[in-house]
Chain length 346, copies 2
DNA sequence: TTGTAGGCGTTATCAT
DNA sequence: ATGATAACGCCTACAA
């Protein structure tokens, strides 16, 4: 009785193995593999056949060491919720077309993890980075260092104004304007804003849009109507309860994301507040869940997939041009999806 | 007027730069950096300081070429929906603890993309792969080749019985048993199964559980009550309409996933079928959306995060042991979450 | 304790 | 048309 044995593992064939098998030099193999015109046709055939037989695949690691390119893009996102998963698909799609492999890491909304991810990816010599900044990120030095080295970088969605780099983002201000204008049209006058972490550009840009719209319509603004909370259903739930227990009760809530809107909805349900009659509600992101809620949730849609594609597009362009090009900021248009949660029958 | 100029990009420092700056050899630097005991303390200090100043980070690509290890795991998933995103987080978490970087690729349920992803990751010399098989995958040769080379591989969720490798999966049969038994308890007798693609193990294992339970209760089984469709709301919607228009109408539907259950729910709503009174409904995966639907959706929960962690655990164990170990299959327990969609008031 | 030389798999340069 | 050789950045003998 012999011990169970698996097929003997064979190390991957190298260019040397192919050369030796044919009794020729590795340079010829290299040239044949890459389709250089100068190599004799019969030689080429022989090389290709032997490579096939030996299942020879060029070692990308060795190649990268020489060329300084890995044909890979490191992507760092705070999480993989619906929005980011969709954006990553967009990045992925264009990247593949352009011959790049996408390596996705999650920072988990952690500053430390973001730094670790950044460093590991860079040390693994990805050709560059596409990043959406974590909500906990307090300093941008880890990115600045790379930008200084001209490592190609594109930021998307959660960008920072101080960073000189290519960016793709939503016109967050306009998204808020659409949402709040709509609520005002529906007769709402005391509109609250359930914001995300104060550190995030998207939180604040949407806040500006919210404030601007209120002012434009001559509506009062109050700090009590602006509540910050984490991107998390539970936090949103509690924040909403605080809002309901405040001195003045709002007649509408605009939230920075659908996930937060859901937390709000649960709180409202529990308190027996009718939506939209007592309090109208508008979310942000237009996740598929929005249309499935009862009442269905009005939400500001953003083109996540396209945002990803464009980010990858900018990245590839930056890679391919050796001249120094000015940084671009692409701003995408939001679209308000009106549903039951904000439609008042009059 | 001069053209705008950015700070001059500096190439990353190499071990040579550090050595040269100190007038010592690179081997000493190498040893000092890695904390070898034999190196003189003053030398070590000097090296560390200079490395810091020059911002020297070892080039992982060069390192990999020597060591044959990249300390990275390639993960291939069909998509990044809630289940897979959660599982990837689980993989990520354990991998980071163990010092690995996770590179996630989506096959987009495409056989070709799965092959491409596999090849690219392997050519980039990831240390191994953690895979959930795409629904379109028709041959497993691309994986078999790697297994033969003893490339560490772990399959999860969508596994294949013919593959000799480590696996983590749900007890799908039991999940179906729980769901169907529950429906029978609720008085349902004509229970239909809305299955996913027939090529998938999870579809079929759940089908076996469904059939087994019906037989055990002496309930008739009928092919008309088993409908396959893509993992997609739209397909599920149409499949449900077909089901409703069949000769005999079911009084319950068990679905292979929540996404499909949602498609079914929309079809039922549109036809004015009351859930659960006319037709009870049970989904699979227990996505967060399940509890938010109206009626809230009963669903078989699976520990996605834990599944990911265990997959990574198996991977790391396989990496760290040089003896040939038998392949393991870890089977996790499902839990039925009962909600309104299947609870009949009697 | 430190330095030298060879090698990892590939490409590029210069010969032949 | 093909081959030899240096180089990429690092590690691991082995030598000093």
């Amino acid at each position: 009785m012999t011990a169970p044995r698996r097929a003997r593992p064979s190390k991957p064939a190298t260019i040397k193995d192919v050369a030796r098998a044919l009794g020729i030099s590795i340079s010829t193999v290299s040239r044949a593999m890459r389709g250089f015109p100068e190599v004799n046709n019969e030689t080429r055939q022989a090389v290709l056949r032997t490579a096939e037989e030996l299942d020879y695949q060029p070692n990308q690691v060795a190649l990268s060491l020489v060329t300084k390119h890995t044909h890979s893009i490191g992507v760092i996102v705070p999480n993989l919720d619906y929005f980011f998963a969709t954006a990553v698909r967009g990045i992925d799609e264009l990247a593949i077309e352009a011959g790049y492999t996408v390596l996705t890491c999650q920072s988990n909304e952690s500053y430390g993890r973001e730094i670790t991810n950044t460093q590991r990816l860079v040390n693994s010599r990805v050709d560059g980075l596409i990043v959406s900044i974590s909500s906990a990120t307090s300093s941008l030095d880890h990115f600045r260092r790379l930008l200084q080295r001209e490592v190609p970088m594109v930021f998307f969605d959660r960008v920072n104004a101080d960073l000189e780099a290519n960016k793709v983002m939503l016109h967050n201000y306009d998204g808020a304007v659409q949402a709040v204008s709509h609520l005002i049209e529906q007769g709402c006058r005391r509109i609250a804003y359930l914001a995300g972490p104060a550190s995030l550009s998207i939180s604040n840009q949407r806040k500006e849009g919210y404030l601007g719209t209120l002012r434009q319509h001559g509506l009062p603004v109050s700090d009590d109507f602006i509540v910050h909370c984490e991107f998390d259903r539970e936090h949103a739930y509690r924040a909403t309860l605080r809002l309901l227990d405040g001195a003045e009760r709002p007649d509408a809530i605009f939230t920075v994301s659908d996930r937060i809107a859901i937390g709000a909805l649960l709180a409202l349900r529990e308190r027996g507040v009718r939506v939209p009659d007592d309090i109208a509600l508008v979310g942000f992101n237009d996740e598929p869940v929005a249309s499935l809620l009862t009442p269905s949730l009005s939400s500001v849609a953003q083109p996540a997939f396209e945002m990803g594609r464009i980010a990858a597009q900018l990245f590839v362009e930056q890679m391919n041009s050796d001249e120094i090009r000015p940084y671009q900021t692409v701003v995408l248009k939001p679209t308000l999806m009106v549903r039951e949660s904000s439609l008042r029958r009059r």
